[in-house]
Symmetry: C2
Subunit: 192 residues, 2 copies
């Protein structure tokens, strides 16, 4: 299972065996079953989560009890609740949508890692910036794009998720009702 | 003008005079007039922007020609287009809404800074994470909150912006029409 973590880092930076031994000390491997929760709203979260296999969803529940999905995380993605930064309890739930292999790492691991393997600093910063750019795009799209445009965009970006994630969750991610999503899908299948 | 930059960093980390001299080598001060553009879509952007005084807006224009405001940046905020990461041309426009004093700094300055002043690494990472958390919240709110909730939230978070930024731009930021915003504001003033 650790080899998947190594492969992930080696996409950007060559990792020596010695460095890999150091990485291993910072990551705790864990298997979670479908339906299991890694985090619930209100808990204190101190880990970032790396997904080696499987699929998680990170979501919030608003005051009226409605779920809003922030993120699906499959192989080689990261997730986590960001509240730890201000020492506040988590605002998110993280749930396994499939049996998954994950790694937990404490917040300060990143600093230890980038001190030990300087090449990773640029890599990490680039990842955060890319993630910020993706969020910006999602903001613009949720403010302006039609439900259909948002679904098409989702298909283009995450083709594999369509097969793996229940329709009602994709609807929640897109901020549309399951009925609207079903209508859009029907319309698409007629076009083919 | 550089003192404002120092004060910003010193909110989190004590800076020695020697360190400050190093910081100065990485930041280029610039004054921009109201209406002036710092960046236009399609240009190659290689700077992050720190706002020492004034107000900027960062926005995109969609295929149908509609503006979407990603961010207003006043004193002590940062902005910039994130496309440089993938060496792609900028997707954003950055325009001064007031006469402003800004600093430009190259992308790799952050790494130089955090190597020279290790305390800043944690500070910088925390800032990126906070920004990511804020973006998450904006995604959830744009997917689920009503126009009125979004306006109230904006008022709470950025009370000073209401005075400084044209109504139509606040509407654009919130993803609502200027007419809806004007109706919400009227309703609020009746309540008082």
């Amino acid at each position: 299972m650790f080899e998947k973590l190594r492969a992930f880092f080696e996409r950007d930076v060559a990792i020596t065996d010695e460095q890999f031994e150091f990485i291993k000390t910072l990551f705790v491997p864990k298997k979670v079953n479908k339906g299991e929760f890694l985090l619930r709203e209100g808990e204190m979260s101190k880990y970032s989560v790396f997904v080696a296999s499987g699929c998680l969803r990170t979501y919030t529940i608003d005051n009226s009890g409605k779920e809003h999905i922030l993120q699906f995380s499959t192989e080689n993605w990261w997730t986590g609740d960001l509240s730890f930064r201000s020492n506040a309890p988590a605002q998110c739930f993280i749930e396994a949508l499939e049996d998954s292999e994950i790694f937990l790492t404490e917040i300060d691991s990143i600093q230890k890692l980038t001190e030990y393997i300087p090449g990773l600093a640029t890599f990490y910063e680039a990842a955060l910036q890319k993630s910020a750019a993706a969020k910006n795009q999602r903001i613009v799209s949720s403010l302006s794009a039609t439900a259909e445009e948002r679904y098409n965009d989702f298909l283009k970006k995450y083709p594999s998720l369509i097969q793996r994630v229940p329709q009602r969750m994709i609807a929640s991610y897109l901020g549309i009702s399951p009925e609207t999503l079903s209508r859009i899908r029907k319309k698409r299948s007629y076009k083919k």
